[in-house]
């Protein structure tokens, strides 16, 4: 598969993370290039979410650095973040806003101006047709996750996706759609880093895997 050269690689060098007294991992390194898929595995509490948050630059690692195109992500700031799409385990939805309003705000924050048709299309892709104008309060857990994940449809041009447990609360049909979206991103030359307990089958030319263990 063609790798697009203009996408810098995400590189972790000798990462160490301690939460409180506990060291979650140390000496961790990886390199994620465009067109590659990286899955982080490991039991609960092994530091998967912390690793993703460090990779995004939300959390300062106890030791080591994360580089994007050779520069520290915590120095690059907005320059890096505009090329990153992060979906955490929290859905970032407001109960009082409708599904489409929630998605529009999320896109605007990410620097993407999406018109109503694009937003409707994205929700439709995740099987939420008919729910666009319902307040998020009345949506089920799985539907709320779908609204959060519909950002993936709009963020197709964002080179790096970091997804924390994207498959939780989803039904089989939605899992299928999300797997397709991730596969599409990788085949377009984007990079995806994600955690999951679910045995996902995503077609990717290069599929890396890191398993964190309890120390």
């Amino acid at each position: 598969m063609e790798k697009s050269p203009d996408i810098p690689s995400l590189e972790a060098v000798d990462l160490q993370c301690a939460r409180g007294e506990r060291t979650l991992f140390k000496g961790l390194g990886f390199r994620l290039r465009g067109g590659e898929l990286l899955r982080i595995g490991g039991p609960n509490g092994s530091g998967k979410t912390s690793l993703l948050r460090i990779a995004c630059g939300l959390l300062e690692p106890t030791g080591g650095t994360v580089l994007w195109g050779g520069e520290n992500v915590r120095k690059l700031k907005e320059e890096f973040w505009v090329r990153l799409l992060y979906i955490g385990h929290a859905n970032a939805l407001k109960d009082d806003l409708t599904a489409s309003e929630n998605l529009a705000v999320a896109c605007a924050l990410g620097g993407i101006v999406a018109d109503e048709r694009r937003i409707g299309g994205a929700l439709d892709r995740l099987g939420l047709a008919g729910c666009e104008n319902l307040p998020a309060r009345v949506l089920s857990q799985g539907q709320r996750r779908r609204v959060a994940l519909s950002r993936l449809v709009i963020g197709e041009d964002t080179p790096l996706w970091v997804l924390d447990e994207p498959f939780t609360a989803l039904d089989a049909a939605a899992v299928e759609v999300v797997q397709d979206l991730i596969g599409g991103q990788v085949s377009r030359g984007g990079a995806v880093m994600y955690t999951t307990h679910y045995e996902a089958s995503i077609r990717a030319a290069v599929s890396l895997r890191i398993d964190l263990e309890e120390i």
Binding site: W81, H89, A92, D96, A108, L109, G110, G111, V113
Partner: protein, 221 residues
């Protein structure tokens, strides 16, 4: 820019759909201010003297009441993380949020204050100075409060800690703000205090959002 517009619009929309929060602040302000004439008694000269101070203290307390809501909801549902990883610098997003917060928790107080001041028999020429001082001062309170709210985000007992943190910073604003109408009443004119408040507003507007942004990044780690 579209991100900032959408943050302001979103916060106003949320406030409109949850109007009880906004009403609580305004109602608190109205009740506190209205209780004073009843408690002090119908002595016009005394009421006229205490009016600016009472209105200012009530506005300060009302603005503090609304403070811990500035970031708490966004922190709880994960939106704050998205704001931090957004394409717009966090300081500007914070500025937009504080502005929206002032529109729903500060501006109503400014608008309603001339009506409440009537209970104190405040002369008309002082009303203008009082309203102007509140219009310049309440945004300063919101901006300073945002730093405190960001620092105490996610802590247990954040409410009490927040009051302790911001109160010392609120005091100069209160003294100068209430002083504007008082010195206008004594014939000196309130210009000096209004200019000072304006300077405070510019200073806080330029620096407070960035300080709050740094505090937010620390709180979320």
């Amino acid at each position: 820019m579209s991100a900032l517009r959408s943050v302001i619009f979103r916060d106003l929309l949320l406030a409109a759909r949850r109007s009880s929060d906004v009403l609580t602040v305004v109602l608190f302000f109205v009740i506190v201010v209205s209780l004073f004439p009843l408690g002090i008694g119908p002595e016009p000269q005394l009421l006229r003297t205490v009016a600016p101070g009472v209105l200012w203290v009530a506005a300060l307390l009302a603005s503090m009441l609304a403070l811990n809501r500035v970031f708490a909801a966004d922190h709880a549902d994960g939106t704050l993380e998205q704001m931090m990883l957004g394409a717009t610098p966090l300081g500007m997003v914070v500025a937009a949020k504080v502005f929206a917060h002032w529109l729903v928790s500060g501006l109503p107080l400014v608008l309603i204050s001339p009506v409440l001041a009537l209970q104190f028999d405040l002369p008309q020429e002082l009303l203008g100075v009082l309203v102007l001082s509140l219009a310049l001062g309440t945004p300063v309170l919101s901006l300073i409060g945002a730093i405190g709210a960001a620092l105490t985000l996610g802590l247990r007992g954040a409410g009490a800690l927040l009051s302790l943190l911001v109160l010392p910073l609120y005091v100069p604003v209160l003294i100068i703000g209430a002083g504007a109408a008082e010195s206008a009443a004594s014939g000196l004119g309130g210009h000096a205090q209004l200019f000072l408040l304006g300077a405070m507003l510019i200073f806080a507007g330029a620096f407070a959002p960035w300080a709050a942004a740094v505090a937010l990044r620390i709180s979320i780690e």
